[in-house]
């Protein structure tokens, strides 16, 4: 190592950081991947579904060696009222073949494996080190410091997660506003593999992914998730922070009640909580995106706010990998031209625009606003449950025609047809 100068320093060995370090090491660059936890993944927590086809481009057939849990063949949207549930349940064998569309993962094992791939490609993993500040030469970022150790590099890549103190320190993003994030609370619940496979009607390595809307979050904007792993369930909530503060409800109690909801309770029956964690989830999509680059530095993954939650799925890891790929291309060009200025690194933004990452962020840019709609969490789950209860209820009295049941349910739920239509219209445009 020529003195303390490397080609690239990547800060944060999450999915984005490990992928970037892997791609840069493959280009023959001298890369240090610095992780504050004792190993990659020890500080990371996700709902736990990785849309895998983008990683397949980086590591073909990654699922063959990577510690993935199950391939998700069954996606369910569940509308919950306090007592009832209404499910849209889709299962397809198309997702049961490689390249797998989505896989459930547990970040501690998965990120550690991804970090090992980066090391195998030649990146130097530096675990247990917290980067405390950036080093500057005038406006340009020239390295990082941890304790009294300083390390310089032509390029610094901030992959330090949703709080991203480095992007803030580099002046690329302001203090995070409450409207732009949600608090993710998650428990991992151990259950024997056979119980999971029976309870969720799964065969072999198939998996289910539930996205839960309605009373899971006690009427606060957000949603729940429940994903099946091999021998455990990942179950959690994503609660919009500004809304939570407005309602002054206790996050840990909402989560506790969620675990106790009748429908959820049946799915976690006889389970044992083996871990309880939390993680900030960027929610505002395009609006939240900071400037992604400055002289000598790029921002990728959650640190760049790259997450989409549209009620059907919550995606972060595949966008993180996409951003790492774009960053690696921008780095390759910067090293070819020996130019690490912001102008040169703007190529990163261009690559991001050309990729699915920005395309999806634009497509679903209205989703965050649409998800703020209170009716989603109280009125509509109530409506759906009410309509179906009446459809199936037989009182040995003349049964109302379905359209009348629906109309009355809408009226009783003091919903206006106009609201309903506008919401369907907005939903259509946002999702």
């Amino acid at each position: 190592m020529s003195g303390d100068k490397l080609d690239v320093i990547v800060v944060g060995a999450g999915v984005a950081g490990c992928t970037a370090a892997l791609l840069l090491a493959r280009q023959g660059l001298e890369v240090a991947l610095i992780e504050r936890g004792p190993s990659p993944g020890s500080k990371n927590l996700s709902g736990g579904v990785l849309y895998g086809r983008v990683l397949h481009q980086v590591i073909p057939n990654f699922w063959e060696e990577a510690p993935v849990e199950r391939w998700i063949t069954n996606n369910v949207v569940a509308f919950l009222t306090d007592e009832d549930s209404f499910l849209l349940d889709h299962k397809t064998q198309a997702f049961n073949q490689s390249p797998y569309n989505a896989v459930s993962v547990l970040r501690s094992k998965f990120d550690r494996w991804l970090g090992e791939q980066a090391e195998a490609a030649g990146a130097i993993l530096v675990p247990g080190i917290k980067v405390e500040r950036l080093l500057r030469d005038g406006e340009r970022i020239v390295g990082i410091a941890a304790g009294e150790d300083e390390m310089f590099a032509d390029l610094v890549i901030a992959a330090d997660g949703a709080n991203s103190f480095l992007a803030q320190e580099a002046g690329l993003r302001p203090q995070i506003p409450q409207e732009h994030v949600a608090v993710g609370i998650k428990a991992v619940i151990a259950l024997p593999q056979s119980v999971i496979e029976n309870r969720f009607r799964l065969d072999g390595n198939e998996g289910s992914a539930f996205n839960i809307v309605g009373s899971a979050t006690q009427g606060i904007a957000g949603g729940g998730f429940l994903y099946t792993n091999k021998e455990s369930l990942s179950i959690g909530l994503v609660i919009q922070l500004a809304h939570l503060i407005e309602h002054q409800k206790k996050a840990s109690e909402i989560f506790d009640q969620y675990l106790g909801h009748p429908w959820v309770a049946t799915l976690v029956k006889d389970g044992k909580v083996v871990e309880y964690g939390a993680h900030l989830v960027p929610e505002a999509g395009l609006k939240m995106m900071p400037r992604l680059f400055t002289d000598g530095m790029l921002v990728i993954g959650d640190a760049a706010g790259l997450t989409i939650n549209n009620g059907f799925w919550v995606r972060g890891m595949d966008l993180a990998i996409g951003s790492a790929m774009a960053a690696a291309e921008a780095a390759a060009q910067a090293f070819r031209n020996k130019d690490f200025s912001a102008a040169s690194l703007a190529f990163y933004r261009q690559k991001l625009e050309e990729s699915f990452v920005m395309a999806d962020l634009k497509t679903f840019s209205r989703a965050p606003h649409f998800m703020q709609n209170d009716r989603l969490y109280t009125a509509y789950p109530q409506l759906l449950s009410e309509v179906f209860r009446q459809i199936y209820q037989q009182d040995a009295l003349p049964h109302q025609p379905l359209r009348q049941i629906a109309r009355e349910a809408v009226r009783r739920g003091n919903l206006s047809i106009l609201d309903l239509l506008r919401d369907i219209w907005n939903g259509g445009r946002a999702l």
Binding site: P38, G128, G184, I245, V274, E275, A278
Partner: protein, 94 residues
């Protein structure tokens, strides 16, 4: 499934406690001046913050390092940083 209190849930986790190096310091004078709703008392998933005889106290040992409090609280109310390298929560599953 047996309902667990937050403390009991946190007890399942693995922590590398950095004895004597708290990573959260509460500046109560700022809390008094700028914060009415005491968001820290209800947004934190690990219930790190509690109010004891009028003062906000942070039991930082159980912190899950999500950073929600840094966004919910008035900017100067907390000195909040990640624990030293290798310390704090260690997710075995994640």
């Amino acid at each position: 499934m047996k309902r667990l209190t937050v403390t009991e849930k946190l007890a399942q986790n693995k922590y590398e406690l950095d004895d004597g190096h708290p990573h959260i310091v509460v500046h109560n004078e700022v809390c008094e001046a700028e914060c009415k709703i005491r968001a820290c008392l209800f947004v934190c998933p690990a219930e790190v913050y509690s109010e004891q005889n009028g003062k906000i106290v942070a039991d930082w040992a159980g912190c899950l390092e999500c950073g929600t409090c840094t966004v919910a609280c008035p900017p100067q109310a907390l000195h909040w940083e990640y624990p030293r390298g290798g310390f704090g929560i260690i997710y075995r599953y994640g």
